[in-house]
Subunit: 380 residues, 2 copies
């Protein structure tokens, strides 16, 4: 059985002679995603401070939208009525949505980052009311209404949204979890993912579904997860769950897990997109990365560059009448100087965030293009 | 004596047979301003939520920047070092700056709007330290340093900024003021404007200077102001000071004042740009209007239209899958629906402000084009 619609396909173009790094193309109903590729996060159907025509001009090939947020505002029915996300947000290029599980369980358990920073494990602000085999009942943070998120409701919501790539419903267990509980969580996640896949297959639409591989930082459970999920008719594999408390743990985890992920399908590393992590993960064979890092850091005045982050709010840029990067062809670098962007941040102008975001996203597009060239030349 | 640089000139194209309305062209070193024309306010060298390449695309011909704000951040020396405002902010088209007096005296006396709303007259938050014949000493709200704003420092700051049109230093007396104090204020403003003009002429640069006609709502004082200022070598005339407590008072005031303003030079109505006021003032012969109304209201979810304001945050737009205006060619109307913009406002996305601002500015550009066509056809 194969869920892949005719328009979804992974094409391997080159595998490095030096590592597991590879260059490929994911074909989708809304065009090609070159891999390795960066996926920006447009939670509510917009990249913060940008309109989607600008995003299209930047050349960002895949955009991430969050089902949890779209479910609560405007509601997936509105998006369906609009003719789907692509039409609603005016994006003719590929979109991926998640299941909503990540956000719901972050509310229940706290995020791994919060957990590690000692902001409390098992934080529960009351919005998650009940977790059962069926799914999760929680209260909308917007209007207090009860929402039941299950494998089926998540997939049907994602059918309404109509993204090119969708994600099955899974549990996000906390980083600090006993082995037996992690095993239980993994088994339930596998049942939920299978239910998600069945619901997906019973409601055919021109979408691909990636499995989410779990198992925390336990290599045996990661292997178990791969073995279970790769037997099912998923179109690709996302690596989710806790990826460790630091980059070294994530490296070890990916090194142990990647050999169990089929090479003939695309894979995705969920929620990771800082530059050192990308640089570490590409030689291990990761195809796509999503992260709000480039856009969020932009809004705080951090401009990405090959020479390291530029904190444009620093006083040393007050008279810097040069673009952020003279070799960058983005709208920001072609038209504005560090001094002007510095001024806009100091003056509290929203435009500062827009210009910084345009540069950082353009940088990511260019960075990934460079990685692809280096892989093709077997330099990575 | 004539201050007009070769590149600054007013060209009268048509005077209505029906009213004092007129169509003209102001030629500046950075291109043409068609009149009647709308001038958007980019206080800190940026229209809020837009970058200047977008503003250029919209076709906005004249942009207002505030000397007071630029003086305190980034400082006019930085702008001078950048090669002037046009280069600093990447705007190849005309720019006008004010003297800074309006902001300083608003701090001292409170704005007319605040005054009329009973938020206190003669509000003084301590930032204005001393008003003398020399000028005004105030504290920077940014870093507490003392700043002396005089006719000469204001003009020299505006020389650093390098706008196409600059404004002499004047006093903004409160709306509620006794006649004798208003007379004293007017006389001092005239002395300040003459000092400003002299400083302007002694430091020649390719800029034009508009006088600011004062006199509050006293028709005799307005006439006196016109008679005094039109004898001096100004390139145009701005109408400033208190314009009355409502539109009717402003109408009366303009009707009485406009006949004393020379027809062979351009004029400008300071700080007024709401649609009914524009509609009222154009038949009286006003050439340009500046206002933050279209941009500020956009950020609050108000979309301008010929059928009246659209409050896009209202629930009725949740499923409105049509552009704000089907006849509008702006980026927002060509690419997005009311439903999407509604969603972005509800989700608190900055992009909502950007899209609304683009539409409202485009609307103003189109509106003024329509007025010019109607005047040329003697319909106004």
């Amino acid at each position: 059985m194969q869920t892949t619609a005719l328009t979804f396909d992974y094409e391997l173009l080159h595998t490095s002679k030096k590592s597991r790094a590879r260059v490929g193309r994911i074909h989708t109903p809304h065009g090609i995603i070159d891999t390795p590729g960066f996926v920006a996060v447009g939670t509510n159907g917009a990249l913060k401070a940008l309109d989607n025509t600008v995003v299209n001009d930047i050349g960002l090939q895949l955009m991430f939208c969050n089902t949890y947020h779209m479910l609560l505002q405007p509601g997936t029915t509105v998006v369906k009525n609009a003719g789907g996300l692509h039409k609603f947000i005016n994006r003719p290029f590929p979109i991926i949505t998640d299941s909503g599980g990540f956000q719901v369980f972050s509310l229940a358990y706290g995020s791994v980052a919060n957990e590690l920073k000692g902001r409390g494990t098992k934080k529960n602000d009351g919005s998650v009311m009940k977790i059962t085999e069926e799914g999760v009942l929680f209260r909308s943070y917007r209007d207090g209404t009860k929402v039941l998120l299950t494998p089926e409701t998540s997939v049907l919501a994602q059918k309404d949204l109509g993204a090119d790539i969708i994600i099955p419903f899974d549990e996000l267990p906390p980083y600090h979890i006993e082995k037996d509980k992690l095993v239980q969580s993994l088994d339930r996640t596998h049942r939920w993912e299978e239910r998600s896949l069945n619901c997906h297959l019973e409601n055919p639409q021109n979408q691909a579904m990636y499995a989410v591989i779990h198992g925390g930082i336990d290599p045996d459970l990661r292997e178990k997860s791969c073995r279970f999920l790769t037997k099912l008719a998923f179109d690709g594999y996302a690596i989710g769950g806790s990826l460790g408390k630091n980059r070294q743990e994530m490296y070890t985890l990916l090194q142990e897990t990647m050999p169990f992920i089929p090479r003939e399908k695309p894979n995705h590393l969920l929620g990771i997109g800082d530059l050192p992590s990308i640089d570490m993960a590409i030689p291990l064979g990761i195809d796509t990365f999503d992260s709000s890092y480039p856009t969020r850091s932009a809004r705080h005045g951090i401009l990405l560059s090959y020479k390291g982050d530029i904190n444009v709010t620093k006083r040393i840029y007050q008279n810097a009448f040069v673009p952020p990067d003279q070799n960058c062809n983005c709208l920001t670098c072609k038209n504005y100087t560090l001094a002007y962007i510095h001024h806009l941040f100091k003056a509290g102008e929203l435009t500062a965030m827009t210009l910084a975001t345009i540069h950082n996203l353009s940088f990511m597009v260019q960075l990934m293009r460079n990685y692809r060239e280096q892989i093709c030349a077997d330099l990575i």
